[in-house]
Each structure stands twice: as structure tokens, then as C-alpha cells.
Amino acid sequence: MTRIVGIDLGTTNSLIAYMDGQTPRVITGRAGRGMVPSVVAMTDNGLIVGDAAKEHLVRNPERTIYSVKRFMGKNLEDVAEELRYFPYSLKEQGGVIRIQVGDKTYSPPQISAMILKELKRRAEEHLGEDITKAVITVPAYFNDSQRQATKDAGLIAGLDVLRILNEPTAASLAYGLQEKTQGTIAVYDLGGGTFDISILKLKDGIFEVLATNGNTHLGGDDFDRTVVDLLLGEIRGQHGLTLEPYPDQMQALRLEAERAKIRLSDEHKTTVVIELPEGHGTFRREITRDQLEALTMGLVDQTLGPCRQALKDAGLQPAQIDEVVLVGGSTRMPLVRRRVQELFGKVPHSELNPDEVVALGAAVQADILSGGTQDMLLLDVTPLSLGIETMGGVVSPLIRRNTTIPASAKEMFTTYVDGQTSVDIHILQGERELARDNRSLARFQLKVPPLPAGVPRIEVMFLIDANGILHVTAKDVRTGQTQSIEVKPSYGLSDDEVERMIGESFAFAAEDLKARQLIEARTEAEAIRKATEKALRLGGHLIDAEETAAIQTALEALDTARAGDDHRGIRARIADVEKTTHHLAEILMDTSLQEALQNKKFSELT
């Protein structure tokens, strides 16, 4: 049985987790951190993902991609009003956003795939086995295009995505596993870019989602922007300086604003310090928590409407919610906690680490799918109503929001004109009456045999699977013949394009691997150089001059190799250094220094 991992692919941070016996665990990197910043830097030395990429945000703003999740399954028009906040350049092609870096363009699923690959690599290193299967989480309020884009990202990263799982429900699994709760819970998830509220009933191991709601464009990023806009205005006022044309300045400002916001969750006031360009000196400003709350109040209050709607859809009063669980980094803001507490009339839970709980839940779901845990079952819902366009541009609903999935609906189609050979079908997602106010998912043409009007009878089956993804099939009722439908997604990559991207991803993989191996070899060379120098300082007097000279020569050769870009050459010189220092290491081990050195390997002595 191949292992299935759980992945939280976040706007700001991503994590990977697995089931260790009965316990879900987040896999940490070398630095012991579970969170991988969802940042990708395209540097001259290759691709960098995560913490190291974050350093490039200011240094290399046009080539460092962050918050790409905001663009998944979207077109340019959808994100028009936030474009000015991004330093990298966005275009559109075939209804899909493309990110332009140098002379290459990338779709959001491709960038997400780079993050997924980093997580995959991390898991492979930790578990010592190939990882090919995953559960990936998405905001519950993600529509079909956004889910499909996430699935595409998995494919491009070489992962078989066995389930697209809703983030708040994933959190409830982790929470339920730990607390063994029964009753009604509300999961309030506010991260960097998205907001979800889900209301669930927990009973005898069944996690039944009663209702969900949210906003896929509301989160900590938006809070940061209120602070950025404030600072931009003041800098303009006081210094007559417009920072917008400086992408590096804008990034520095954004990061400083975010840090200030985070500090204000613990402190009542803080100072932002910004180095201005072109001899304008330093800009300093004190910000209080009250000021931040005044700036972000409107945004936080925007989360309350969806909460009320979800309660209403679940047929519950706030007092009937037994527990409220907080998920996502932004729920650390005191204002958010206060508002949630006021709405539900109870102190929200936050015992579980709000950063990790989604990934842990994804690992639990992965375990269920792989046949491990069998006593828990998640019954989730579709967040948005699904319908088709009818006469006059009105939507005829087929599957209502908050319907338990898998869900299906059948619709019979016929013709209006004698001899008509096709019927156009337009599928939409959303709650509005008119087609044009909803999200267009896809259009397709139903083929009909030429017959008098009203005689053909084509039954179309719309099925939303357990991932919340739509499948369409059609059958001619008269002949019993089935037909394959060519659906053109309105805002998604075509199958061919995904196929091509998978191919490219493997091509890049070779390049990326080379870049990684070089970086790793150089890092190791640096470590062994330091260790050797230290050993020479400690025990140089215990060996003869000839031996010392040999070590020096080996070190020089290592330096030369390190300046080149052949990782094998570097590895060979590392081996040389280890050979020439072997005797010295032994001596050091044997001497009274032994104790200080403990059992560490020579190369670890830094």
C-alpha cells in the first residue's frame, strides 16, 4: 500500500503531513519548521521555494511569486483591483492568468506545482520513500475552476491527487480526532488570502457538514494592504515621494506592514521603520492596535455575513453551536477573536495549532482513503449552487448549495426547431438569478439526431463527486446511446495544456535537480571547510608540517571546485579533504578533547 500524504497548500504557507500510526504529524524541514512559505523565486541559479525564496521578495521582486493561490482558477478581470499590489507581471491567455517572469510565462497551477514539489521532496527525504499520492486541501468556498486548478497543480507536480479536501473540514477531522467531541461545531478559518466558515455535526465518527460559506478573496493579505495604503499616503504627504514605481520598496513596505500587524496581536503599539530611496532618509511611524483595528474592522466584519448565512442554511441559532474552532494565522488577531466570540456567544477554541491543524486533518483523511482509519467519515457539501442557463439568461438551479456530495441531478433536453442537431448548454455556479452574475464553469454542445422539434430526448447527468468537482455525461433516451461531451472550461487549463505542463515539469525537474545538487554541495563544502579549520586550530600542533600542508592543499582545491558549478567536482574535493584530515580527526578523538567532541562526526564539528 503506497502511502498517501496530506498537503495544506496555503496562500501564505504550505505544509505536508502524514499519519504516524494513529497520530498525524507535520513533516518539518532542516530548520525544524513545518511551514513552507508559499513563495517561489526564479533566480539565476535556479528555482528556490520556501524560506529561502522569501529573502528574494525584496531583492528580486519581479521574479519572486507569492500568494499565487489568489489567482488559481481566475481570469485577469477577477483580480483587476488588486493587481497594483503585485510586483510581478500578470497576463491572460485562454481565460487563465499567466505570470510573466523574464521571457517565460507560468500558469498559477505551475507555480503551485513548484511548491508541491518542494513539499513532496521534503516528505521523501523524511520518510525515505517515493511520494506519489496526496490529499490536497482547498478553501471550502473554492468553486469548480479553483478546485480543478488545484488538481492540475498536483498532476504537474507528479502527484496523484486522491482527494481535494475542504480546509475547515480537514481542521474538524484533526480536532475531532483529538477532542472526541460530539455535537455541533463551527470552524472559522481566516488565513492569508481566504475566509471559510463551516458548520458541522459530529456524531459517532461521522463528520457531517451542515453548511459552509466564505470568501475566497479575503484574508491577512487584505489587512496588510490597509496598512500599506496608510503608509504610502503618509510617505507621499511627508516626503512628496511615491513608492509605487519601486517594486522592491513596495515589497519591503508590505513585509514591514505584515510584521507590524503580527506584532500588534501581542502588543498595543509598535513602530514601523522604512528606509526610503533617493536620500529621503528613514520613515518612522508608531501604530497602535486601536489604529490597526480601525483600519481592518470593515474587513473583519465582512466575515460575519457569511457566518450568519451558514448558520441560517444549517437551520441553527448561534447559541446552538457547541464549540467554535479557530483556524488560520489571521485568527490570532484579537479583533477577529472578539468578533467571533460576540457572534457565537462563546469563547472560541484554539488549543490546536491554527497553522498546522489543516495539514493534520489532511493526513487523517489520507489515512481514511488508504484504508487505515475506518471509524471516521466526512460527509461534505458543495459550497455553491450549480445550474444551467435557460431562456432569457436566467439560471435554472440543478444542485443547491450545501447539498451533501456526491450529488447528482438529471435534466432532460429536447429541441425547439425541426431538424435541430445540437443544443448549447452553459453551466454556472453561484447564487444569483441571472446567468451573467454567476461564475461560468463551462459550455458544451449536446449532439442531437435531426428529428422533428420536441422529439429528441437527451438526458444529461450532472454529478458532483466527493472532491466537489463536476462531471457531465449524456444519454439519448430514445436509443439508449451515450455520448461523450466536449466541455470547454471557461477558466481552466485544457487537458492538453496540463499534459504539456506535466512534460515540462519533468524537463525542469532535471534542471532543478542540478541546481539543488549544486547548492547542497556548496553548502556542504562550506561546512567541511569550517570544520577543518576548527580542527586545525584545535589539533594542528599534533600533526607534522607535511600533513598540515596536504590539508591546506586539499582545502584550496575544494575552494576552486566550489567556485565552479559542477556538483560532482565539489563532492570529489570534499572526499579528498575528508581523506587528508582522517588522521587528524583520529588524533583529536583520542586526545583529551574527546569529551568535548562527543560522538559527532568530524564534518559536523563547526
Binding site: L162, L377, T403, A442, T473, G480
Partner: protein, 245 residues
């Protein structure tokens, strides 16, 4: 969004219907309820199966919701795609189809109004006619309300005092209509019990007499009237709420 070419379907519907009593996989006769006792493969629910049968219930309108939920959870554990991840493509398809049907059945039977509407459809077939004319016994009230609403819409840019008095009038109208709604719901529940009493004389117990058949039809007819009146009323109240909001 993905589309499946229909060629992917593992088994033809016609075959399945014919072979309901035969396992689609090992062809042995099925004695178990949802699984073949020979090869333990899950069996597809028949497309003709009604929602009551699906949830193991007699065709009665008063339902024990806790028992219904327990049955739904049980069957979810039997059919949900989560538990078929490692099975064959055919079994996965059956699991998907069965789960979707189970979910629809549960959603329909859980809600009293949907349940009653569904029963009407089952019992009366497609003969169900949805009337769109206003219910006769509500004619007066609806006429008054319509006038009040007109006046309110026209008055929205007039003196605040006039608007306020119209608002009070509409609030009173709303109160009245909501009382009618509650009356209707109470009557609906009475009809539920009447139906159940009549229906409990199952053919096996005592063959349906022409008399009991007539009684049943009378209940169904009144229920149909009531449900369409209720829909009509609800739309009006929603309109009222939207206008005065």
C-alpha cells in the same frame, strides 16, 4: 470540470436492471442487502428504487428523524467513495452512484415539505398539476396586501409619516399571512397522520378497498392543494420582506 466520455461506464443500465437479483461481478444470486454474499462486492441501487425504500422505510409521512439519520449514516458508511479508493473502477462508480442517490433520498425525506411533495409525485405520477392561481380562501387578504404594497412602493419618496403608517399596515399584513402559514403547516401535519393511518393497511394486511383508496386520494388531493397554497404564500411573504427591507 471534467467530462467523462460515456464509454467509461462499466456496465450498461439495462443489464443492471435485469440483473438486480444477480451480482454484477460474480453472477451469483444476491441474498445480501447491498453486497454480494459470494464476492462481497457492492451492488448498485436500482435507479427505479424510491427514496423510502432506499432508506428502508415504509411510505409513511411521519418519520422518526433520529432513526432516519442513523440509517443514513449507516448507509453512508457502506457506500461512501472514501471507502472505495482501493477498489476497482467499477466498484468506485457504483459507490459514487449509490452515494449520490442516498444523499438525495436523505435530503428529500428529512424535510417534511420535500417529503410530502415527493410522496405526491410517487403516488400521483406525473399527473401532478401545479396551480399558479392564488388560493381561493386567501383571495381577500392577498388583494389587500397587493394594494398596500403598491401604495408603499409609490410612497417611498413621500412624507415619512405616510411611509411609516404604510409600513405598520404591511407589518400587520405580514403577521396575518404568517399566521396562515402556521395554520397550513399544522394542517399538513394532520394530513400526514391521516395518510399514515390509511396507508398502514398495507395490501398484505388487508387488501385496499375502493373506499380506502378514495380516502387516500382525498388526502393526497388536499395535500397537493395545501402545498401549492403554501408555496404561493411563501413567495408573497418573501416579496413583502424584500420590499420593506
Amino acid at each position: 470540470m471534467t467530462t467523462d466520455g460515456m464509454q467509461k461506464a462499466p456496465t450498461k443500465r439495462s443489464e443492471l436492471q435485469m440483473a438486480r437479483s444477480m451480482c454484477w461481478h460474480c453472477q451469483s444470486e444476491i441474498t445480501g442487502e447491498y453486497f454480494c454474499e459470494q464476492c462481497v462486492k457492492v451492488q448498485p441501487l436500482s435507479k427505479e428504487m424510491d427514496y423510502f425504500t432506499c432508506l428502508g422505510l415504509p411510505r409513511l409521512l411521519n418519520i422518526d428523524l433520529a432513526a432516519l439519520e442513523a440509517k443514513f449514516y449507516d448507509l453512508s458508511r457502506a457506500f461512501h467513495p472514501d471507502f472505495y479508493q482501493r477498489k476497482t473502477a467499477s466498484e468506485q462508480d457504483i459507490s459514487l452512484g449509490n452515494s449520490a442517490m442516498l444523499n438525495t433520498a436523505y435530503r428529500t425525506l428529512k424535510d417534511p415539505v420535500l417529503r410530502a411533495e415527493y410522496l405526491l409525485r410517487l403516488e400521483a405520477g406525473s399527473a401532478k398539476d401545479i396551480r399558479t392561481s392564488p388560493p381561493a380562501d386567501l383571495f381577500e387578504e392577498i388583494l389587500t396586501l397587493q394594494e398596500d404594497l403598491e401604495a408603499f412602493r409609490a410612497a417611498s419618496d413621500q412624507a415619512p409619516a405616510a411611509v411609516a403608517s404604510l409600513r405598520t399596515k404591511l407589518a400587520a399584513d405580514r403577521e396575518l399571512l404568517e399566521q396562515r402559514q402556521r395554520d397550513m403547516e399544522a394542517r399538513l401535519l394532520e394530513l400526514f397522520s391521516r395518510w399514515d393511518a390509511l396507508h398502514d393497511r398495507r395490501p398484505q394486511a388487508a387488501p385496499a378497498t375502493p373506499h380506502s383508496q378514495q380516502d387516500k386520494e382525498a388526502v393526497l388531493k388536499e395535500m397537493r392543494e395545501l402545498l401549492s397554497n403554501r408555496t404561493y404564500l411563501r413567495n408573497i411573504v418573501n416579496d413583502l420582506i424584500a420590499t420593506t427591507a
